[in-house]
């Protein structure tokens, strides 16, 4: 670390240079991008480095976080006459741990905490893999589902 730090000192003498901040944060790998409108430059944590998936239960956790972050998703469903309110989530790269969880053989062992939003069912699939997903409801718990190709072609 000290050797790396002395190297970047030599690369950049400007005290506002992000290298020094990175060195203080003990960052060992960094990438710089030209981003218009980015004034002053800011450091953000990389999404691809060092993300950890703790297991299948990262999926319900990500779902809960997403519903808390975007209340529109459950508010839209609070309609009279619609007792069955479901949300379909397509997981993207930015929710890396959820993507990993969806690829695991094991299903989540806990239910997503969604009943407080009036949600009765949750679907979760990987963006681009359109034929399959996981489904959760109180009655089914987590199950794997996929398009019935025979029914499709019939």
């Amino acid at each position: 670390m000290s050797r790396w730090s002395s190297r970047v000192q030599g690369l950049c003498d400007d005290p506002s240079c992000p290298f020094h901040g990175l060195a203080r944060l003990r960052v060992v790998s960094a990438t710089a991008f030209d981003v218009k409108g980015l004034r002053p430059p800011e450091i953000f944590m990389s999404l691809a480095h060092g993300q950890v998936c703790h297991g299948p239960n990262d999926l319900p956790e990500a779902i809960e976080q997403c519903l808390a972050d975007k209340p529109d998703n459950w508010r839209k469903l609070q309609v009279p006459g619609k007792a069955d309110r479901q949300v379909f989530f397509w997981a993207r790269q930015s929710r890396w741990s959820a993507l990993r969880a969806l690829r695991m053989d094991e299903l989540p062992s806990r239910a997503p905490d969604v009943e407080k939003y009036g949600i009765t069912g949750v679907w979760a699939g990987i963006l681009g893999r359109w034929d399959k997903a996981l489904f959760w409801s109180v009655t089914t718990d987590w199950v794997r589902v996929q398009i019935d190709e025979n029914a499709e072609s019939a």
């Binding site: 060992v28 379909f88 989530f89 397509w90 997981a91 993207r92 963006l127 398009i147």
Partner: protein, 133 residues
């Protein structure tokens, strides 16, 4: 951490994300549930515009499991790291690979992930998991 993202960039990402996968979700739900899954406006919906009706009693909203700010960053990163001649990229390169089965490079479990990194002075090296980064 993502305060630099201006509102228009996030709004653009939100719009792009809201459309993608809607029809695919509709097909999947219809196939699994065995009932018609129809657009909101065909079911006499009022007020809130969820995406689809599931039969008579169900409503379905399709969305992304994503961090919108992070999606913008990833798109920028993807553009920046796309292979193309660049006079600025002369010192090192970094390739990150999500390898579910590691392609035999390590004896990791199928769920492990890692990175291949290389530079002009160092040969390719495999780093597994987060702890060694």
């Amino acid at each position: 951490m993502r305060g630099w993202l201006d509102a228009s960039m996030v709004a653009m990402t939100k719009r792009a994300m809201s459309k993608e996968g809607e029809e695919e979700a509709r097909r999947l739900v219809e196939s699994v549930r065995g009932v018609p899954v129809t657009p909101w406006d065909e079911g006499g919906g009022r007020g809130s515009r969820y995406d689809f009706n599931i039969g008579k009693d169900g409503a379905l909203e399709v969305t992304s499991l994503a961090d919108e700010g992070a999606e913008v960053v990833l798109r920028r990163a993807s553009r920046a790291t796309t292979s193309r001649p660049s006079s600025r990229l002369t010192r090192t390169w970094l390739v990150m690979v999500d390898m579910p089965n590691n392609f035999g490079l390590t004896s990791g479990t199928p769920s492990s992930a890692g990175w291949l990194t290389g530079s002009k002075t160092n040969s390719w090296r495999w780093s597994a998991g987060a702890s060694r980064r």
